[in-house]
């Protein structure tokens, strides 16, 4: 079997930016920081959820409350992402459970996402190889179309329904191991079953909580997550060099909290086995050798839009 050259193997190799033993120490996992973060996460969710509770009779305040709660809700993606790498907690069982829970909230099948994401790390920002690539939009209309989330939801729901019928595309079969295809199909089927069950409960019991606290907030705020996800690689060179193809964004502590430190994206791509709570330390060690946007997401989009204008 041909040896697979993972990004981590390059990061731990002879020409590494961080000495092997130092990086290995950063890779050590613990449950404590993740559990503390999770507790604060639940406190924040309770707070933003209560904003909806208190504004349900005030129609002009309800939509802003849903948007604020939705911003936290869509950041469950960050938790799912960390759990996918098994770097949120030392416990794999807890990581698996939370990845499944978050995946169900956001229509991101956890097992499928895990394998898709492995290839994203192996072929980051490379055309036709990176299954999660968000290409630089061709023009402003394409930029806004992506942020509208219509193509995103269409791909998430469409993909889930297709895979539930047992059909995986050629591209998907490149990254889903043959031994895992049945499980990937089954997880889509189970997710659809779960959604149908909840819809049935909503309709028969007039139980509106899923709509008020989950679906509408997520739909309202997903553009925020698209806005953030676009800054990770879009507009960076489409080359197999993580020091160039990935963008780290320096953002405020609240955004860092929401993102489970995933704004240190170049550090994450440098060594995906480093837990979220050590990414800042890793960032400090490599920040002079990777691409850093010091003014955060907004400036990253200025850069993206400049590149869109330049090419259109």
């Amino acid at each position: 079997m041909k040896q697979a050259l993972t990004p981590l193997t390059q990061a731990l190799g002879d020409n590494a930016l961080v000495p092997r033993r130092e990086l290995k120490l950063l890779m050590k996992r613990s449950n404590v920081p993740g559990l503390v973060h999770l507790f604060l996460w639940m406190v924040l969710l309770t707070f933003t959820g209560s904003l909806i509770w208190f504004t349900t009779d005030t129609s002009w305040l309800l939509a802003p409350a849903m948007f604020i709660h939705g911003v936290v809700m869509v950041h469950h993606f960050a938790l799912q992402h960390e759990c996918t790498h098994y770097t949120a907690f030392r416990s794999r069982k807890l990581c698996k459970f939370l990845a499944s829970y978050c995946g169900f909230l956001l229509v991101i099948p956890p097992l499928f996402f895990r394998y898709e994401h492995c290839d994203h790390h192996t072929y980051t920002n490379q055309h036709d190889k990176d299954p999660e690539m968000i290409p630089l939009p061709e023009n402003r209309r394409a930029y806004l179309w992506y942020l509208s989330t219509i193509p995103y939801w269409s791909s998430q729901f469409g993909g889930m329904f297709r895979r539930a019928t047992g059909k995986l595309t050629k591209g998907e079969l490149k990254f889903v191991p043959r031994s895992e295809v049945k499980k990937v199909v089954l997880e889509s089927q189970l997710m659809i079953l779960g959604y149908l069950l909840i819809i049935a409960l909503v309709l028969t019991l007039s139980w509106w909580a899923p709509l008020l606290y989950w679906w509408l907030p997520v739909m309202l705020s997903e553009p925020v997550m698209r806005f953030i996800r676009m800054t990770e690689h879009a507009g960076r060179p489409t080359v197999a060099d993580m020091t160039r193809n990935t963008r780290t964004n320096i953002v405020s502590s609240l955004w860092r909290f929401l993102a489970w430190n995933m704004n240190y994206h170049a550090a994450h791509h440098y060594a995906a086995s480093v837990p979220f709570y050590r990414l800042r330390d890793l960032h400090e060690k490599i920040k002079d050798r990777v691409y850093v946007e010091p003014k955060g997401y907004i400036n990253a989009h200025r850069d993206i839009l400049q590149r869109v204008r330049a090419q259109s």
């Binding site: 697979a4 993972t6 981590l8 290995k24 890779m27 996992r29 790498h85 492995c118 191991p177």
Partner: protein
């Protein structure tokens, strides 16, 4: 016929972690554990990634590519997508070296 061979100096062993080693043309992973040392093939039986760059937690090595897991003591696959066992080799600490017991012909493979 199998013989004990010096593999790597004890001083090069990454404490409580996995260290890459080579004997002949064969790449091996050496695991330092409180109850001794273990040696397996270095390459994941699923995707071919280098397990020496994986994450060692207790007696479980996690592949850096797809996060499949193996038991380092007997090479058995513990977590998908790993399905086939890793080759394992008898190992010991002897003097200043980690030694591994391998068939002599394996040294040239």
């Amino acid at each position: 016929m199998s013989e004990w061979q010096n593999l790597i100096p004890l001083a090069d062993l990454e404490p409580d972690d996995v260290t890459p080693a080579r004997i002949g043309k064969r790449r091996l992973a050496v695991y330092d554990r409180p109850d001794g040392v273990y040696v397996t093939a270095a390459r994941c039986t699923h995707g071919g990634a280098d397990l020496c760059d994986g994450y060692l937690d207790g007696n479980v090595i996690e592949c850096p590519l797809h996060q499949g897991c193996f038991d380092i003591r007997d090479g058995s696959p513990l977590e998908a997508p790993a399905t086939r066992s890793l080759a394992t080799f008898q190992a010991r600490k002897q003097g200043d070296f980690v030694q591994v017991k391998m068939p002599v012909k394996a040294l040239t493979i």
